[in-house]
Symmetry: C2
Subunit: 611 residues, 2 copies
C-alpha cells in the first residue's frame, strides 16, 4: 500500500475557474433551492416529530433523515470558507430538534419513531442505519468545519445503542444494513476521533455481511445489496449501484485502516470490473432502472441508461479512496471522469433542478408512440431535470459534492504531496503552500507554485486521456504521476497536458456502441443536442473521424464546445432502397459538454455517434 | 379501376419447387400438428358444447371457434388437390357438431353459449362476429372445394340472425365488430353465392364503423380497432395490425364490388402509409407488442419487433386484393415480400412449430441480465417457435395460407391474364392452359407456356426488386407488368429477372436501421445467425458492401444462402479507447434466409448489419 491522506477541505481554497463558479452557484442557489424543496415537502418539519395519523402534515418517509443529513453536511463544507448565518442557524435549529427528539436510549430516526415505531431494527431495507450513516457524515463535517460537537454527541449516543443492539444483544432482526453507508461514515468518524469503537463497528458490519443469508426478498436476490458473499470474496460489482459503491468505499477505508490486503484485493477486483465492464463513458454506473443496479458486463444501453447521479458520486467516492491506498493514477482518472460528466449532468446550469437518471441518448420520438393504446408503456428516463423527487437523494448529494470538492484536489504522505485534480486553488499543508492556476478543463496548461516544501516531492497526475504532455521540471513517472523534487523554497512547475478532441471507440462487446464513436476533449464528454443542430436527426449522421473538430470556448458552459464534420444521409422516397442510390451531404455539427444537456427544454440527444 | 379476378385455387396446381415442398409439408405435417395441438387443448372437444362449470375439460375461450374454423378452411384447400379421408371426416364431424349445437335462432358460438351466454352480443371485443367471419370463410372454401353446402347452411342461418339483431332490431350492445373479419368473409360469400344480403351486411358494418364513438375502452383508444373515423376518412394504418388489415381487405373488396372510389382512395392511402412508413423489410407490421399494433411512422425497432405472423398474412391479403383493383405491380410485390419472409418465418422448417412474433434481431445477452433482481423485467419476443399458443391464431392462418397459395398466382379479366407470383404450376382458365416452370426464388429465370390463349394478353409482373431483366417476347410495360400478346395457340415466354445480392438501406427517418444495411437476393431477406458464424458477435462486424456476396444453393432451405465479406473489429483491453488504436480483420460471414432463423436452437440473429 502507498497510503496518502487527503488534504482536507478546510485547507484548500478554490480560487478561480470552472469549479469556483460551480461552488458559488452551489452556495448561492442550489443549497437554498434544495432546502426550499425540503421545506415544501415536509422534510424539515418532520424533525419536530409532530406527525400523527390523521394530521395534515406530510408523513415522514424512511429516507428523509438522510436527505436532510446530506444537506446539513453540505452546509458544513460551505461554512468552512464562507460564513452564512441563515444556513448556520438552520442547521443549528435542526440539531436542536435532534437533541430534543433523540430517544432516551439514543435512537434517532424520524419515520421509525413517529410513523412505524413497531418496525425499529426489524426491516433490513428500511434505511435506519443508512440514515444514521449520513448523520455521522454530517457530524464529522460539522465538527471539522465549525468545531461544534453537538452532532457528534447525538450520533455517538445513537452509535452506542447500535453497538448494544447489533453487536452485544444481537436483538435486531437483521445483522447488516440493507443499504450500506454507515460503514464508511463510522470510519470517517474514527479518523476524526481516533475512537476505535467506531472502527470496530464498521468492521463488524463489513465482516458479517454475506454470512447470514440476508438480502433475499420476494423481489431481489441477495446480490442486490451485496449480501451474496462475504465481502473479501466479492470480485464483481453487483446489485444496487449506490449501495454497492458505498460498501466498496467502506471496504477501501477498512483495508487502509487495518492493512487488510485481502479486503484491498477485493476492492481492486471490483474496481476493475466496474471500469472495464460496467461503466458508461460518462462514468455512469448501474445501467438498469430495475433495482437501480449493475447488470452484466457490457450491458450499457444509452437511451435507457439509469446511471443515477448518486451512483456516479458513489463511484467517485470509491475511486477517491482507492487513490489514497494504491499509487495508480487510474483511480484519480475515474474521479475526474465523474466530476466532469456523470455527476454534474445531474444538475441544471441554473443550479435549481436535478436528474436522478442520466441517460446518454434521448429520442423524443420514442415517447407517446403508442397512439392506439391509452398508456405510454415503455419506461424511459425523464428528459428534463426536476426540483425535487419523492426519493430525493441526489440533490443533497450534489450540494455536498460541490461544497466539498476541495478535498479531492490533493493528498499527501510523509515525503510527497499529490496533485490529483486540476482546480485553481491555494492549499496549506503545514508550512507548505501550493497554488494552482489553470483553465482546466478548457485547457490542459497548469501552473503550480510550491512554497516551503523543499525536499518533498510534488506528484502531478498525468491524465489518462493525455497523449502528449510536457512538464517544465525534471520528473520521474511513478504510477501515472510525474514525481518532481521540490528542490528549493519556491518552485513553479508548468505542465501542459495537450488537449485535443479525441474520438473514442467502445470495446467491441458493448452492443449499444457498436460502430459508433464518442467525442471527448480532455476529461469532458460531448453530446449532440438537436437544439444546436435543428432539422438533423443524430442517427442520420456519420461522423468524419478523420477531421479534428474545432474547439471554441463557450461561456454558457464555462467550457469548450466542439464543431465536428459529418455526413448526413439524404432522404429517400422509399422505405428500403438499393445502397447504390445512397447519397450523403457534408454537414457541420455542434456538440456541447454532456453535463450541459437538457438545459434548454426537451431535445434529442446522444453521446455516441455513427461513424 | 382495372379489375381482375383471381384464378381460384381449384384451377391452379402447384407442380414443383419451393412452394410444392412447402405445400406438401403443410399437408403431411403441419395440418396434423395443428390439429393435434387443438385436440390437446380442448378446441375440438369444445364443439360438443359439453363444458360446464366444474367439469374437467378445458374451458372454451372466445377465440377458439376461429382457430378451428381456419383449420377447417385449410383442409378445404388441401382436399381440392388431394383426397385425405381422415381430414375430410374430421371436418365433417365438426360440421355435424355445429349442426347439432347451432341454437334455434341460428346463433353459433361455443364460448358464448356454454361459458358466458349472458354476454351474447354485449361485449364488442369478444370476437363473436370475428368467429362467424372465419366460419364463413371456411364455408366458402368448403363449398368451392367439396361442393358441400352444409357449412354454408349453418352460416347463412347465423348471418340471418346477425342481420336481424344488428340491422333490423339493433338490439346488440355494439354496432360494429371489435375485431374485423366478418366483413371480408361476407363479401367472399357474396361472390360465391351472388346473394346480395351478404354484401349488404358487409357494407353495413363498414359504413357504420367510426360513427358511434365505439372502441374506446379503459386500455385502448378507438383507433385500436379502427373505430376512430368513418372508414372512408381513414388515411393511416392504426391500431391492432391484424384487425386493421382485415378491415382494409374488406374495404378493398367493397370498393371493388361497388365501384366506390372514395373507399378505394382510403385503401390506397392506407396501403401507402403501411409500406412507406410502417413495414419491416420482411413485410412485418405492427411493430409493438402493446396492442399488437401499428405505432407511428418509422418506429421499427428490430429486437422488440412484434410483427405478428397473422399481421403479415393480413397485409398479404390486403395487398392481394388491391392487385385485383389497381394495375400496379407494387401490390403483388408486397404479396411476394410477405410470402418469402414475414409469413413463413412464422413456421419451423419441420412444419410443427410457430412464431407469433417475428423479431428481426435477437441478442441472447439481453436475457437474464438482471442478475440481482428476481424477475426478468424486459419483455422480449420468444426465441424459439412453439407448437401452440393460448391465443393460437397464427398456426391455422399458416395452414390455410400454404394450402391456398395457388390462388395468389394468377388473376384475369376479359382480355388479359396476369402472372403475379412465380410458382411452378399448371393453371386452367376456360380453354386456356398456362404452365410455369421456375426455380424461383433460387433463380429469376421463368418459363411460361400458354396454350389456347390466342388474342389475349399475358401480363407478367416485373418484380420490384429487379434491376435487370429480359423477356423473350416483345412486351409493353404497363403498371409494372410486361404485357405480352398471346399471338398463337401456343407460345412459350422466357423471362429472366436477374437476381443478385443487393444491400438495402432504410429511409433515414428509421433510427433502428441507421448506418445499417440488409441483404436480399431477389425477394428473400437474409439474416445472420450466430450458429453459422460462431465466435462472432454480429454487432462487432462492419459489412463490406463493395463486394457482392457469393450465392450458394442450400437444400436445407430449398433456397440460396449468401457468403458476405465483412470487417470484424479487434478486441481492446480498454472499455473506451482512442479511435487511432482501432484494428479490424477481414472475416467471411454466412447468411441464411430470414424465414429459416431459429431452426437450430437459440441463437443471436440480425437482419440489419453495420456498414
Amino acid at each position: 500500500m502507498d497510503k496518502t491522506i487527503p488534504v482536507p477541505f478546510t485547507s484548500v481554497k478554490i480560487t478561480d475557474g470552472f469549479w469556483k463558479k460551480r461552488k458559488e452557484l452551489n452556495e448561492n442557489v442550489t443549497i437554498y433551492a434544495v432546502r426550499d424543496r425540503f421545506i415544501d415537502t415536509g422534510r424539515f418539519e418532520a424533525f419536530k416529530f409532530n406527525w400523527k395519523e390523521g394530521s395534515d402534515i406530510p408523513k415522514p418517509h424512511i429516507f428523509w433523515d438522510s436527505d436532510v443529513a446530506k444537506w446539513m453536511e453540505s452546509v458544513a463544507y460551505i461554512l468552512a470558507e464562507k460564513e452564512d448565518k441563515i444556513l448556520r442557524s438552520q442547521v443549528e435549529e435542526l440539531v436542536s430538534l435532534m437533541e430534543i427528539n433523540q430517544q432516551e436510549d439514543g435512537y434517532f430516526n424520524i419515520a421509525h419513531t413517529v410513523v412505524h415505531p413497531e418496525d425499529r431494527f426489524k426491516i433490513r431495507n428500511n434505511h435506519e442505519l443508512y440514515c444514521l450513516g449520513h448523520f455521522i457524515e454530517a457530524a464529522v463535517a460539522w465538527k471539522e468545519s465549525t468545531g461544534s460537537d453537538r452532532l457528534i454527541t447525538i450520533t455517538d449516543k445513537y452509535i452506542d445503542l447500535v453497538i448494544r443492539i447489533f453487536c452485544v444483544e444481537r436483538s435486531a432482526e437483521f445483522v447488516t444494513p440493507g443499504h450500506e453507508e454507515i460503514e464508511l461514515a463510522l470510519i470517517r468518524l474514527y479518523r476524526l476521533t481516533k475512537n476505535k469503537k467506531y472502527l470496530d463497528l464498521a468492521l463488524f458490519f463489513l465482516n458479517e455481511r454475506g454470512l447470514h443469508n440476508e438480502g433475499l426478498t420476494d423481489w431481489c436476490n441477495s446480490s442486490y445489496n451485496q449480501s451474496h458473499l462475504p465481502v473479501r470474496q466479492q470480485r464483481e460489482a453487483m446489485g444496487h449501484a449506490v449501495r454497492a459503491c458505498y460498501l466498496y468505499s467502506a471496504m477501501a477505508d477498512a483495508a487502509k485502516e487495518t492493512d487488510d490486503k485481502e479486503l484491498l484485493d477485493a476492492c481492486t477486483n471490483i474496481f476493475n470490473d466496474i471500469v472495464h465492464n460496467k461503466m458508461y463513458i460518462t462514468g455512469g454506473i448501474g445501467s438498469s432502472h430495475h433495482g437501480e443496479a449493475f447488470t452484466v458486463a457490457y450491458d450499457l444501453p444509452n437511451n435507457t441508461a439509469y446511471a443515477e447521479t448518486c451512483a456516479s458520486i458513489s463511484l467517485m467516492m470509491f475511486a477517491d479512496r482507492m487513490k489514497d491506498i494504491i499509487l495508480d493514477s487510474k483511480y484519480a482518472d475515474i474521479v475526474e471522469r465523474e466530476i466532469y460528466n456523470g455527476i454534474i449532468s445531474g444538475i441544471s446550469l441554473d443550479g435549481k433542478a436535478f436528474f436522478y437518471e442520466n441517460p446518454l441518448e434521448i429520442n423524443l420520438s420514442d415517447r407517446n408512440k403508442h397512439t392506439s393504446m391509452k398508456q405510454e408503456p415503455e419506461r424511459l428516463p425523464i428528459t428534463q431535470r426536476q426540483e425535487v423527487f419523492s426519493c430525493s437523494c441526489c440533490p443533497p448529494n450534489l450540494t455536498r459534492f460541490f461544497a466539498g470538492i476541495g478535498e479531492k484536489v490533493f493528498s499527501e504522505n510523509n515525503d510527497s504531496v499529490f496533485l490529483h485534480q486540476y482546480i485553481p486553488c491555494t492549499a496549506l499543508m503545514g508550512d507548505m503552500t501550493i497554488s494552482v492556476e489553470t483553465e482546466y478543463p478548457v485547457s490542459g496548461k497548469i501552473k503550480i507554485n510550491v512554497k516551503n516544501g523543499t525536499g518533498k516531492y510534488l506528484c502531478v497526475r498525468i491524465p489518462g486521456w493525455c497523449e502528449n504532455y510536457s512538464i517544465s521540471e525534471s520528473f520521474e513517472s511513478v504510477g501515472g504521476y510525474a514525481k518532481i523534487l521540490i528542490y528549493s523554497d519556491e518552485i513553479t512547475v508548468f505542465a501542459d497536458f495537450v488537449m485535443e478532441p479525441v474520438f473514442y471507440l467502445c470495446k467491441k462487446d458493448v452492443r449499444a456502441n457498436a460502430n459508433k464513436a464518442a467525442l471527448m476533449y480532455g476529461p469532458v464528454v460531448y453530446c449532440f443536442e438537436k437544439f444546436d443542430n435543428p432539422y438533423i436527426n443524430h442517427w442520420s449522421l456519420r461522423f468524419d473521424t478523420e477531421i479534428t473538430p474545432e474547439v471554441i470556448y463557450d461561456k454558457n458552459y464555462s467550457c469548450n464546445i466542439l464543431i465536428a464534420q459529418a455526413f448526413e444521409i439524404e432522404n429517400s422516397d422509399k422505405l428500403y432502397y438499393n445502397i447504390k442510390e445512397k447519397k450523403e451531404n457534408k454537414v457541420t455539427i455542434k456538440l456541447i459538454p454532456y453535463f450541459a444537456f437538457a438545459n434548454r427544454g426537451e431535445s434529442d440527444m446522444t453521446v455516441w455517434f455513427n461513424i
